[in-house]
């Protein structure tokens, strides 16, 4: 039989998994069954009043368990996403630096779209992809015109930041929608 302690653990695990973009009621059902069995096993052996706590300690903290699921499910290594976002940012900055190029709107839109794609692919670290996409233009401008006023160009990072977090939000929504049960916990 489940207990308030087990349910509290499951709530923490559910929160931790959702934070990592994993919404899978099967995980929580399996964990609940495991913890109930473990508590019963511990009680049979020593009838310890702390059987729940011991069972959960052996199972691992919600953070550790969620991290194990993330490590196992991340299909695209983050270093590849970082490399791709740097290449995309560099390409956008290169086009933007051409003397014949005079369309700031398209540059901003390209940064936003590129960062949104990377935010979707790697929702755990959207700010990283935003910086990798957006820092090239101010960096190039600083190299060409090293003046304090050029630092204002750092504001362009707002576009990839907005894009990356929008991509992350889309990923989160699609993860929740794909889940068979959006509350994450189903009955045993």
């Amino acid at each position: 039989m489940t207990s308030p302690r087990i349910e509290a653990y499951l709530q923490r695990l559910r929160r931790e998994l959702r934070r990592q973009f994993i919404v899978d009621p099967r995980i929580l059902d399996e964990v609940r069954g495991h913890l109930v069995d473990a508590v019963e096993g511990a009680r049979k052996q020593g009838d310890s009043p702390e059987a729940d706590a011991e069972a959960m300690a052996r199972f691992g903290s919600p953070e550790v368990v969620a991290a194990a699921f993330v490590a196992d499910r991340t299909r695209i290594p983050h270093r590849w996403v970082l490399a791709a976002s740097m290449v995309a940012g560099g390409a956008i900055a290169f086009v933007d630096s051409r003397p014949s190029w005079d369309d700031t709107g398209i540059t901003a839109g390209a940064m936003l779209l590129a960062a949104a794609t990377f935010g979707f692919l790697g929702p755990q670290r959207p700010w990283r992809w935003a910086l990798a996409v957006g820092l090239w233009i101010p960096a190039y401008a600083l190299v060409r015109t090293p003046a304090p006023g050029t630092l204002a160009l750092l504001l362009v990072v707002i576009f990839p930041l907005a894009g990356a977090y929008a991509g992350r939000a889309v990923r989160y929504q699609s993860t929740v929608r794909r889940s068979p049960s959006s509350n994450g916990i189903t009955g045993l």
């Binding site: 069995d37 199972f59 699921f69 196992d72």
Partner: protein, 107 residues
């Protein structure tokens, strides 16, 4: 033995734990603990991502089973899983013999 030491061997251990009969996660964790003489210091929750991965790789299959009103996910080896286990057991035996020959020989 820490989780870091077990890294890379977990799949083999899980497949071996399921060789004799299908089992649910808690029974697999118990089998690993008792058969290893409590040597494996692994958070039991970290077995599940590995079990799910092995299932995605079609080395295991699973189904819900209900006993005394309680639902449990039971895992079992597939034919592909049995072949993979036999191959990994052979590789492990060769590896362990080689390591023993080097480490044991230095004493």
């Amino acid at each position: 033995m820490t989780a870091e030491t077990l890294k890379g061997h977990l799949d083999l251990l899980l497949l071996a734990a399921l060789e004799a009969r299908p089992a649910h996660g808690y029974a697999i964790a118990e089998a690993l603990r008792t058969r290893s003489g409590d040597a494996f210091d692994l958070p039991e929750g970290t077995l599940y991502p590995a079990l799910h991965r092995l299932e995605r790789a079609a080395l295991l299959s699973s189904r819900w089973s209900e006993q005394n009103g309680r639902r449990r996910r039971v895992y079992q080896l597939t034919a592909k899983g049995r072949r993979s286990l036999a191959k990994r057991q052979g590789e492990w035996t060769a590896f362990a013999q080689a390591v023993n020959a080097v480490v044991g020989g230095s004493r």
